[in-house]
Amino acid sequence: MNGTLEPLFFWLISAVIVLSALAVVFMKNIVHSALFLIVTFVGMAGIYALLQADFIAAVQILVYAGAIAILIVFAVMLTRRGDIRASNPFNGYAIIASLACLAFLVVTVSMIFNSGFEIVESVGKSVVEPLAIAMMGDFVISFEVAALLLLEALVGAIILARGVKKEQ
């Protein structure tokens, strides 16, 4: 009996993700697009939770739905000019863009099918402790580089924003 609901929830959440992602592209109003992007983020968290990666799901909610979404909305408020109701228009690159997306899809799908995934039984185990051990042990260089990357992102963004401030 166990596991019967899993496919149902998987398809349900996938449908929500795909539809909201399409809405992000097709909405005329850019703030509506940003709000649908939040739905996509939350849906992704649902997929992570279905994969039993509870910590990653919470991180997805915390960072993407809680922080990136806010940043996007603030950026929209900062840069927008003209009428909000037609702030997310289409330009003449639709065909080229869809071709590029198709190429990306082909590459991604072929990579998914060509990589040998290992199915790991991790029922009931916490992922936090192994994550910490890996972070502080084998991947300590990457861990410190991540800090540098964050620093770099912060400094770069402040320099860019200072230019905007002078314009204002």
Partner: protein
């Protein structure tokens, strides 16, 4: 007395199991049972809290507060609820209709979801997640979305300004709030609520982490948008901030979520700093409620004692004082734990 709620839950569990739907449906039914019970508890509390807040504010300002309806005004909030149901839901013509309405629903979702990991008593926790407190932080970080939606969707200058201020304030104070909990987690060595409570068997974390508790308390007031940090809805400058265009039940949902969040964040303070439901003689859930109301009284006391502060002071206080202080607290806690372990080793 101790096991009274557990016995009811066991009875429900047996009832649902006997229906033979399989473990998954049973767990969903149990969760429905838990969430209904919790929401019942929260709604009951909000009724009491609104009255308590109005009475306390009255006493702090040397006036009696509401005192006409029922003995000493006890039925005032019940009348208010009935009145709210009879009010019209006004949607301004200029508003972005769907965003405007959906904001009232979106504000309520995290408010309910937060209660999933709150231990109301011994074994009285709806879902004892491995990532317990991290789940709480993640879900509470999404509370800002509703304010963006409401503030922007109203198409009102006060609403938008108030909404943007709310979000800026909530995200700023989230950082010291989250960092202040790290000291507790370092000592407890787990994110699970039941483990954190078990770690406080001998000594409460408020004694080991006094600075963390103060940081947590201050930033949680800002997270709740309560005075002295209630700039988003500072009525003298912004009318009612993001709530300006909301009426009737739509306003009530915002209001309800605000009080529900106050209860849940007080519950987290009790769980992480005041030893949770642990205490002598009385049943565990009674200890929880007593400690909960002590925390809530603290929030109300602060609200009706301090005047509102200016927004630039608010931001500077967070980024230039609370955040560095919380980082220092983490390092000091780390050194302290290492020292204690080192001394025990000899």
């Amino acid at each position: 007395m101790e096991g009274i709620f557990l016995r009811i839950a066991d009875f429900a569990k047996q009832l649902f199991s006997s229906l033979n739907f399989g473990p998954e449906i049973t767990s969903i039914l149990m969760a429905l049972f838990h969430v209904s019970a919790i929401i019942g508890f929260v709604l009951l509390n909000v009724l009491v809290l609104v009255l308590l807040e109005r009475k306390l504010s009255g006493y702090f300002q040397q006036r009696p507060g509401p005192n006409r309806l029922g003995p000493n005004g006890a039925f005032q909030t019940i009348a208010d609820v009935i009145k709210l149901f009879g009010k019209e839901l006004i949607i301004p013509k200029a508003a972005d209709k769907w965003v405007f309405i959906l904001a009232t629903i979106v504000v309520f979702i995290p408010a309910v979801m937060l209660y999933a990991v709150i231990p109301f008593g011994k074994k009285m926790i709806a879902i004892d997640l491995n990532i317990g407190i991290f789940y709480f932080i993640a879900i509470s970080s999404t509370a800002t979305i509703a304010f963006i939606m409401g503030g922007w969707g109203s198409n009102n200058k006060y609403s938008l300004l108030g909404g943007m201020r709310t979000v800026a304030q909530m995200v700023s104070y989230e950082i010291p709030l989250v960092f202040s909990l790290l000291g507790v987690i370092m000592i407890a060595g787990s994110l699970k609520m039941s483990d954190i409570i078990a770690a406080q068997k001998d000594v409460w974390f408020i004694i080991l982490q006094p600075i963390a508790f103060i940081i947590f308390f201050i930033s949680s007031i800002a997270e709740l948008n309560r005075a002295p940090f209630d700039l988003p809805e500072g009525e003298q400058e912004l009318v009612a901030g993001p709530y300006t265009e909301y009426s009737g039940m739509m306003f009530a949902l915002f209001f309800l979520a605000e009080y529900a969040n106050m209860v849940s964040i007080s519950a987290i303070a009790v769980t992480l700093f005041l030893g949770g439901w642990q205490g002598p003689i009385l049943p565990s859930w009674m200890w929880f409620v007593i400690k909960l109301y002590i925390m809530i009284f603290l929030y109300m006391w602060v609200r009706w004692t301090f005047p509102r502060i200016r927004i630039d002071h608010l931001m500077h206080f967070n980024w230039k004082f609370l955040l560095p202080l919380s980082l220092v607290n983490i390092v000091i806690t780390g050194i302290g734990i290492k020292l204690v372990n080192w001394l025990n080793w000899f």
